[in-house]
Amino acid sequence: MRLSEIISSYKSTLMAKKLPFLRCRACSYTFYYTRDICPHCHSRDLEIMESKGLGTVFSVTTLLNKEKQRTNYAIIELDEGFRLYSTVISDKPVEIGTRVSLKILEIDGSSYPFFVALKN
């Protein structure tokens, strides 16, 4: 798979409100950041998967953005094992370990993964 194919597949998956990720067929490692090579075993035998969109807050920090709004910048660990930077949309403080689900938002015409806390 060429990198350009991976990126365009990611974009269309996100547009369809799903979260894509990469899985190495050789070593089963899953990862999110778009490479056409497995960063673990360096195999090029990769497949693009779709996540169920459920995960856990691995770490989170609250800060004020340029518009002085509170925002929760986070690392999310998806149930499929990979992690990514994202933002947890919440008015309340978010704790590490909180279960979250995917919420795709459109920014400047492109779709990106955000997360919201799951109601227990």
């Binding site: 950041y33 778009t34 960063p39 800060l63 910048y73 990979f82 933002t87 990106y112």
Partner: protein, 385 residues
């Protein structure tokens, strides 16, 4: 080995970066008793926008040498952010040992004020300029609001707190002890009394990190002259050295609370019992705590207990960041490596008036650098055997 060194640091320098660099070089050469014509090597580093406000300087080492009038037979350009300074003197020494140069000038610095004027930091230059990237994956993650690099270290501090109960007080205690050391250092910008309460009362910039746990970027240069020539300075050598360069995006790290200092210090493999002072990279309080664990002074997760049980002041049992570190001296050009290396040299040469540790023979210096803690350099300097 180190024939001379100098620093010139300003909160904001109104002149040009080239001018400030040349002044610092002059001062270092004067200490070394070496004339510019004797310099035949240059090692330096460059960060976008930081040197003089230009996002890029075409053939940077040419520009440095053109300004200084320096012909060379050895040049190296390092790219490890804050850890570069430590590697500079190692590589300079290696070139001298190999007969490739006799006197090498190592230059690190620039003007952080040029970047601050844009309302950004060096690790978020992509937000104000097109055609600057931070990683090969910017398209998919740089849309989130963050305060890179503060927020990235905040994520680490939050995770460390969650896993090991390292609360805000632990980090504040470190800041307070570093301030104590800074109070005796005439190079420190911040020398007022500081309490744990003060640190915790300062604004939270990116939770859990407070303003007083974060370095203040400034303008300035550090210059180190490595030479085969003997000078009035103590005859030092590199007793141990290790580098580690990691490849993961931070979310991909198996454990974000571990830095490559774990690997670089293992390569250096120096008996920490023989170390008289530690100078550990202090971009944030958290950075120091992580290194205390990663270099092996204490087990991962136990740093709160360590801070409780030891006195980290320059008069204490484990002197740490003995001049106050860059948290109190400022961080020239977004890189603290020059600050901690200079402090090590002051200590080893008994030149640290007001913050001198007694009987310093070996100093352990650790630099962390590059976005996302991707580089670490561990270095022990001591008197030549």
């Amino acid at each position: 080995m180190i024939a001379g060194f100098a620093s010139k640091v300003h909160r904001k320098f109104d002149g040009s970066a080239f001018e400030l660099m040349a002044e610092t070089v002059d001062q270092a050469l004067e200490m070394a008793g070496i004339i510019p014509g004797e310099i035949d090597g240059l090692v330096t580093t460059f960060l976008p926008g930081v040197f003089d406000g230009n996002t890029y300087l075409h053939f940077f080492t040419n520009q440095v040498r053109q300004y200084l009038g320096l012909r060379a037979r050895y040049i190296d350009m390092l790219d490890f952010g804050g850890a570069s300074a430590l590697s500079m003197i190692y590589r300079a020494q290696k070139a001298i040992s190999a007969g490739e140069a006799s006197s090498v000038i190592c230059i690190i610095g620039g003007k952080a004020s040029e970047v601050k004027a844009l309302g950004t930091t060096v690790d978020s230059m992509d937000k104000v300029y097109d055609h600057i990237s931070i990683t090969p994956f910017d398209w998919i993650y740089r849309i989130y609001d963050s305060l890179n690099p503060v927020s990235d270290y905040a994520l680490v501090a939050a995770r460390h707190a969650k896993l090991y109960g390292t609360d805000d007080t632990v980090r504040a205690k470190l800041a307070v002890q570093q301030r104590f050391n800074g109070k005796g250092n005439d190079k420190a910008m911040y020398r007022d009394d500081l309490t744990v309460k003060d640190v915790l009362a300062s604004p939270v910039i990116s939770s859990p990190l407070h303003l007083l746990e974060i370095v203040y970027p400034v303008d300035g240069f550090h210059v180190f002259v490595v030479s085969s020539k003997h000078t009035s300075l103590r005859d030092l050598e590199i007793k141990a050295y290790g580098e580690a360069h990691w490849a993961e995006m931070p979310p991909e790290l198996p454990d974000i609370t571990i830095t490559p200092a774990k690997d670089s210090s293992r390569v250096a493999a120096f008996d920490l019992e023989r170390v008289d002072a530690f100078e550990l990279y202090d971009s944030f309080t958290t950075t120091v705590l992580l290194q205390l664990e990663d270099i092996g002074l204490v087990q991962k997760g136990q740093v709160a207990k360590f801070i409780e049980e030891h006195d980290l002041r320059y008069t204490g049992d484990i002197p740490l960041n003995t001049g106050g570190g860059s948290l109190n001296c400022g961080q020239p050009a977004y890189m603290s490596g020059g600050v901690i290396l200079e402090e090590a040299l002051l200590q080893l040469n008994d030149m640290a008036k007001g913050h001198q540790v007694k009987g310093v023979n070996n100093v352990f210096i650790n630099g962390i650098g590059g976005w996302s803690r991707s580089h670490s350099v561990s270095l022990v300097l001591g008197e030549r055997n």
